[in-house]
């Protein structure tokens, strides 16, 4: 009885038997949340595994390599043969001689088709050729070239990186000031009646599927913007950037509006009491107080913009031009992966380089999201007055 007294306090049983339904629900929720984390890790492990040979530099994509005649099959060591056929040891052990000979014949045929070219022997999937310009046969000067489907596979990543940054930059320049001003207006200046329909209206933009935005950009915006500005190529980084901006406006707006609203009302009230106008209070008092949140919104918008695929695939023209002119057609990393992966030879160098691009994108996206989260956290602590 004494134990019962300590377990029963104010009508609450400490040791109450958990109902089986509750127990199951609790475990199920736990498993689901755990599986989400495991899934993220699995995805990262998978893309990393597929791209690891590129990062380690063990992938060779040279078009022409040393050939071993099928007749010499028994004169070379088994290990040399295995290395020549690029097979793991376990798989190699299962092969009979006839199959191995057939594979050597195919290698020989492939070598006969390889181009006679000074570049045929270089490994184009090496880091130096993926990052530095190279003077390929048929070009007048060293250039950054992304031409993966070619006799000599040219895998320079710089045009894609530049293309991605170009469109993202245009999107940020277009979307951040607009959504920030909208957020200031909605949270600080608008009357309650206006705020009631303005906020959901702007956030409704996020309800438009990106493929619809891309389609709209491809058909309507490209034509209208070309007529207004009169530039040469209809689809370019500018059009794609504006469309991308429309996609990130709700992200940036929504988070910075939250940050601005969570600034204690006593701040602007104090400013107003000291004779500041409403605009001055919003711009010089509330905005600085909400700065970390606004910064987090920008960072999250950047993460969304750099990872967005469908809009840039449809509206950027996808030409891998190297240069910073935003009125040129441009090719982004995401669009490249989406467009090229289906036809790449599975496990081949092209496939692995696309996965390496995916890994880089994942890292950038993950880091920006993490940074955004950390900053939001800090802001919350600051505003709650905790150290």
């Amino acid at each position: 009885m004494s134990a019962g007294d300590s377990d029963n306090w104010a009508g609450i049983h400490r040791g109450r038997r958990t109902a089986p339904g509750e127990w199951l629900a609790e475990k199920a929720i736990f498993l689901i949340s755990l599986s989400a984390i495991i899934l993220v890790f699995l995805i990262f492990a998978f893309i990393l595994r597929e791209s690891l040979p590129i990062f380690l530099g063990t992938m060779n994509s040279s078009a022409s390599r040393k050939v071993i005649q099928p007749s010499e099959m028994h004169t070379i060591s088994r290990e040399a043969l295995r290395a020549y056929l690029e097979m793991p040891a376990g798989e190699f052990a299962e092969m009979d001689d006839e199959t191995l000979k057939l594979m050597m014949e195919v290698k020989l045929e492939a070598a006969a088709e390889a181009p006679e070219d000074k570049d045929a022997k270089v490994n184009t999937a090496s880091w130096s050729l993926m990052l530095k310009p190279h003077q390929w046969t048929g070009y007048d000067k060293p250039e950054y070239i992304w031409q993966p489907v070619s006799e000599i596979h040219k895998y320079n990543l710089i045009p894609l990186l530049v293309g991605t940054l170009k469109t993202t930059l245009v999107a940020m320049l277009f979307a951040v000031p607009l959504s920030l001003l909208a957020a200031i207006y909605v949270s600080q200046l608008a009357s309650a009646r206006h705020r009631e329909w303005l906020k959901p209206a702007i956030e409704m933009l996020s309800g438009i599927p990106s493929v619809v935005l891309g389609f709209f950009a491809l058909i309507v915006m490209a034509t209208v913007l070309q007529k207004v500005f009169g530039y040469q190529s209809r689809l370019n980084a500018f059009v794609a950037g504006i469309a991308l901006g429309l996609a990130i406006i709700p992200v940036v707006f929504s988070i910075s509006e939250d940050a601005l609203t969570s600034v204690p009302p006593s701040y602007p009230q104090a400013a107003l009491a000291l004779g500041a106008s409403r605009w001055q209070a919003a711009w010089q008092v509330v905005l600085p107080a909400a700065m970390p949140g606004v910064f987090a919104a920008t960072v999250l918008g950047f993460g969304r913009a750099i990872g967005e695929t469908m809009i840039v695939l449809m509206a950027s023209g996808n030409a891998s031009i190297m240069g910073w002119d935003i009125l040129d057609s441009t090719r982004t990393i995401t669009a490249t992966i989406a467009a090229e992966l289906a036809e790449a030879v599975f496990g081949g160098h092209h496939y692995r380089i696309l996965f390496a691009l995916g890994t880089m994108l994942f890292a950038v996206s993950f880091l920006t999201n993490l940074a955004g989260d950390l900053i939001t956290h800090r802001l919350k602590k600051q505003l709650e007055g905790k150290p």
Partner: protein, 302 residues
């Protein structure tokens, strides 16, 4: 009082074996059902996977063949030739539709599994057209001029008899068999100009050329408002040939290619062999015309 203490700690143990048993039972039933359906579907069905170029044609073939042979089920999916070859070696598809010939790396992967080369069947002809805007005064181009235009050496229409305006290039994605084929046969393997914009399909190329008075693009046989197909001559001085069925099938039009189906030789018996024969018969080849490709010449049907 002891009992109430046990209540918290024992209850999970009572529950665990029961749930475990239930989970195991459910799982084994689920696996059993999946395995059974897999076997049942496998029994009289053919799967075909691969090139998106071929998907409409392959679906049409499947539809007509299934109407004639109600006991056979044929499933057609796209995804790209590369996806098709990967599926072929994983045994997840019986037939691989391909708009390009198989590559040596893919042959090697297939040999590892089949112990033989995959069998190649040519199943149709595809003629590629070169499209320009309707208002473009240029009436025809030679293969050499096309090469200079698409590699970026010729940058202005006046160099090929047009107006003084820059040439805007519309190409296909490099994952497309069309891209690779045009590169091999017209560009002699040289790189496309980096300025070439890439479009997701022939329809998109046509739409872009139709809107751009200085545009030029290429693609399968199709119709689009504002764009027209340009006759092509093999060399300067030779007659320019339009991409009509007659000219493509007799080989006088210079830009055409084969479309293929690949199959594991061990599976090429019974219903699958019958289906492949039917595709290359008159009945199968008549369907080819309806979806914008050209039938194989009689000589290359085997």
């Amino acid at each position: 009082m002891r009992a109430s203490h046990f209540g918290t700690s024992v209850a999970p143990h009572i529950w665990e074996p029961a749930t475990n048993r239930m989970i195991r039972l459910t799982l084994s039933i689920a696996f059993g059902v999946v395995a059974l359906t897999a076997i049942a579907v496998r029994a009289d069905s053919i799967t075909a996977k691969g090139s998106d170029t071929l998907v409409i044609l392959a679906q049409k073939w499947a539809e007509v063949y299934m109407a004639e042979h109600p006991n056979t089920k044929i499933q057609v999916t796209g995804g790209g030739s590369g996806t098709g070859f990967a599926a072929l070696q994983n045994h997840t598809t019986d037939l691989c539709n391909a708009s390009r010939p198989i590559k040596s790396k893919e042959v090697l992967a297939c040999i590892k599994v089949f112990r033989k080369r995959p069998t190649e069947y040519k199943v149709a002809l595809d003629g590629l057209s070169v499209y320009v805007n309707e208002s473009n005064p240029v009436r025809s181009l030679t293969v050499a001029q096309l090469k200079d235009i698409f590699t970026g050496r010729t940058e202005n229409w006046k160099e090929v008899g047009g107006e003084d305006a820059p040439i805007v290039l519309y190409s296909r994605e490099n994952s497309s068999g069309t891209y690779e084929f045009f590169k091999q046969s017209i560009l002699d393997g040289a790189d496309y100009s980096a300025r070439a914009q890439t479009m997701p399909g022939t329809a998109a190329v046509l739409q872009a050329v139709g809107k751009d008075t200085n545009g030029i693009g290429y693609g399968g046989v199709a119709y689009g408002s504002g764009a027209r197909a340009l006759p092509v001559s093999k060399a300067a001085g030779l007659p320019a040939i339009a991409p009509t069925e007659e000219n493509v099938v007799n080989g006088s039009y210079p830009i055409w290619r084969y479309l293929y189906i690949y199959v594991n030789p061990a599976l090429d018996t019974g219903e699958i062999a019958h289906y492949l024969n039917w595709i290359r018969s008159d009945a199968g080849q008549d369907i080819v015309k309806n979806v914008g490709y050209f039938p194989l010449p009689k000589a290359s049907r085997n």
